[in-house]
């Protein structure tokens, strides 16, 4: 259905969306790029001047940057490991015949719908509080010293909270992928003498491989910019133990008002995210042709 009439109409209908997104992307991004080469602090208005790559040099020279980069990678990697492995196991379990499957599904996916500030606060206070928290009570019941989670294992605590939020996402998508596996293929493998383990590695895993990659990439995009959970639990501390790139740039811009430095950081973050995005777009693009 391609007549000149419909194509002209189509162009008009696409125009608003394309123009808006173009503006949304290009204007702020070019401003960030411009600022990143400026000495620009909101506390000293009118003192802006061009500094070349100084902001980048400061940003990279700052030991906090490397700490933040490491923290970002640890956070993303930790959450990915937990959610991908846990999600696969959970999806396999939920794919088994059982009573009340629908309800279990609802229970499992619920955390995904909880807003980040709520889950962070609930975990921080009611579960992980060193004195009155539920975990502290559990520890005492089993005869252990309660743990002061955010003081002793700050990063691990944040990983737990974020993993709790994203495990449902991984599970739900992997379960959907699992359920599209042809029953006959499974039966054929069974007839060919495949045990549960070889069934998993030779039939199921290849079948959900693409879903796993998609989950990994999408989560990475979101996890790179984890913010609210850190803001309400540790505020990046103790020290910079839980400061990730997003949080570091937030502090530099909205707390220290150093626009130039923050912008340089923003550009670095954009470049990092783009590396992941390229892979994700490739997978989604392939799917578009199928």
């Amino acid at each position: 259905m391609a007549t000149a009439q419909t194509q002209t109409a189509a162009r008009f209908m696409m125009a608003p969306a394309v123009l808006l997104l173009l503006a949304w992307m290009i204007i702020p991004l070019s401003m960030t790029l411009y600022f990143s080469f400026q000495r620009y602090n909101l506390l000293m208005p009118g003192m802006e001047y061009f500094t070349g790559f100084d902001n980048y040099r400061y940003f990279f020279a700052n030991p906090n940057f490397w700490a933040a980069l490491t923290n970002t990678l640890v956070l993303v990697g930790g959450v990915l490991a937990i959610t991908l492995i846990g999600g696969t196991l959970l999806a396999l379990l939920l794919d088994q015949p059982m009573f009340g499957q629908g309800i279990v599904r609802l229970l499992v996916i619920a955390p995904f719908f909880v807003m980040p500030t709520v889950s962070a606060l609930v975990w921080k206070n009611m579960l992980m509080h060193p004195v009155n928290g539920f975990f502290a009570w559990l520890a005492r019941v089993f005869g252990f010293q309660p743990i002061d989670w955010f003081a002793q294992f700050p990063m691990f605590s944040i990983i737990m909270i974020v993993a709790w939020q994203w495990l449902p996402f991984a599970t739900l998508i992997l379960l959907t992928a699992l359920q599209s596996l042809d029953e006959e293929q499974r039966e054929a493998a069974g007839m060919d003498g495949a045990g549960p383990l070889s069934l998993f590695f030779y039939i199921i895993l290849p079948h959900i491989a693409r879903a796993l990659t998609v989950v990994m990439l999408i989560q990475t995009i979101f996890l790179l910019s984890i913010f609210a959970e850190i803001l309400v639990t540790t505020n990046g501390g103790p020290g910079v133990a839980t400061t990730n790139l997003t949080f570091l740039i937030y502090m530099q811009s909205l707390l220290q008002f150093d626009v130039g430095l923050a912008s340089a950081g923003g550009i670095v973050a954009v470049i990092l995210a783009n590396i992941v995005a390229i892979f994700l777009l490739r997978i989604v693009g392939k799917n578009l042709e199928a």
Binding site: M1, A2, T3, A4, Q5
Partner: protein, 332 residues
């Protein structure tokens, strides 16, 4: 009234030319079938007439009026799609009434037209059902009902029967033919099935690679195929072709004999060969015979003829039923 004229119509998609240059006159009231192998451009041609695609060049006129640039909605044609394309969210009644609603016909007129169409097509009991509650044949009838209520200038059918099973296809074929006899409206029908073409058409357009190979009545095509392509495409089982020395005896580059025009004998014939497979259909028997120097030839004989695998038989073409073709494949 519904004559359709195509003048030097060309169509290409991007750089690919699908229809190089076609001119065609379809007279009012005729049942014209476009037939050809898949990818020959027959559906594209129909969609050009419908206005669902723009022509790259040329002119399309309906009733002598230039419609080349007219939107499909204004061409006053109806179309029945291969997938039926029923509106899933509307009842059968809603589907059939839709074209009339679009032209804002008064309600009484719509009701009368829908009821009339439903009774012609035996859909009266199903008017309040949704398309998904219907069988394939019923859906097809709804699609036809939707097409007839508008009293279009012409009906366009795009392989309407290819999603039905064999028995239903034969029944629907008859129904569409009857409908044409009743309505006497121009119908343009696209199919890849030469049996449908032969049984339904007043005139057949045989298409190949976007070109018209021949345009004529079914019997003309059968008896006087213009070239080797038409000869091979029309008729089932396919015509046997022989090249080389045997053809030169007839003064041609190649010759063709239809299976039904070969007599089989136990003694020697014009050709002799060994029976490879014999297929018994009850009414007919098809023999596939290996003929030395001519390849496998198929014959069609009466059902009670019994030849076995491996038997040597003679084959003789019926006098005057040998088609001769030149090196370009044109009939001589």
């Amino acid at each position: 009234m519904g004559s359709i004229t195509l003048k030097n119509v060309k169509k290409s998609f991007g750089g690919v030319t699908v229809i190089p240059d076609i001119s065609l006159d379809i007279e009012d009231g005729q049942f014209v079938v476009f037939v050809g192998p898949s990818g020959c451009g027959k559906s594209t041609l129909l969609r050009l007439i419908a206005g669902l695609e723009d022509v790259s060049d040329g002119m399309i006129a309906i009733d002598g009026e230039d419609m080349t640039k007219t939107a499909p909605a204004q061409r006053k044609l109806s179309m029945v799609f291969q997938s039926y394309a029923l509106y899933p969210h509307m009842s059968v009644r809603g589907n059939i009434a839709f074209p009339l609603k679009m032209e804002k016909a008064p309600k009484e007129k719509i009701d009368a037209a829908v009821n009339n169409a439903a009774s012609i097509l035996n859909l009266t009991d199903y008017l309040d059902r949704k398309p998904r509650q219907l069988s394939g044949g019923q859906r097809q009838r709804v699609a036809i009902g939707r097409a007839i209520v508008r009293q279009p200038k012409a009906f366009l059918f795009d392989e309407p029967l290819s999603n039905l099973d064999a028995a239903l296809r034969v029944a629907m074929r008859l129904e569409i033919s009857e409908l044409h006899n009743k309505l006497k409206t121009t119908m343009v029908y696209v199919t890849h099935d030469q049996v449908e073409a032969m049984t339904m058409a007043d005139k057949i357009v045989v298409l190949n690679a976007g070109r018209i190979e021949q345009y004529g009545s079914p019997l003309e095509l059968y008896q006087r195929p213009a070239n080797k392509f038409v000869a091979g495409f029309i008729g089932s089982p396919k015509m046997n072709f022989v090249e080389g020395a045997e053809a030169q005896k007839h003064g041609a580059h190649s010759i063709g004999v239809r299976p039904e025009h070969l007599t089989v004998s136990r003694g020697p014939g014009t050709w002799s060969g060994v029976v490879k497979v014999s297929e018994h259909l009850g009414s007919d028997t098809f023999l596939h015979v290996d003929v030395e120097g001519a390849g496998t030839m198929t014959t069609r004989t009466s059902g009670d003829v019994a030849f076995k695998h491996g038997e040597t038989v003679g084959l003789t073409p019926v006098e005057g039923r040998v088609y001769r073709f030149d090196a370009q494949g044109m009939a001589v």
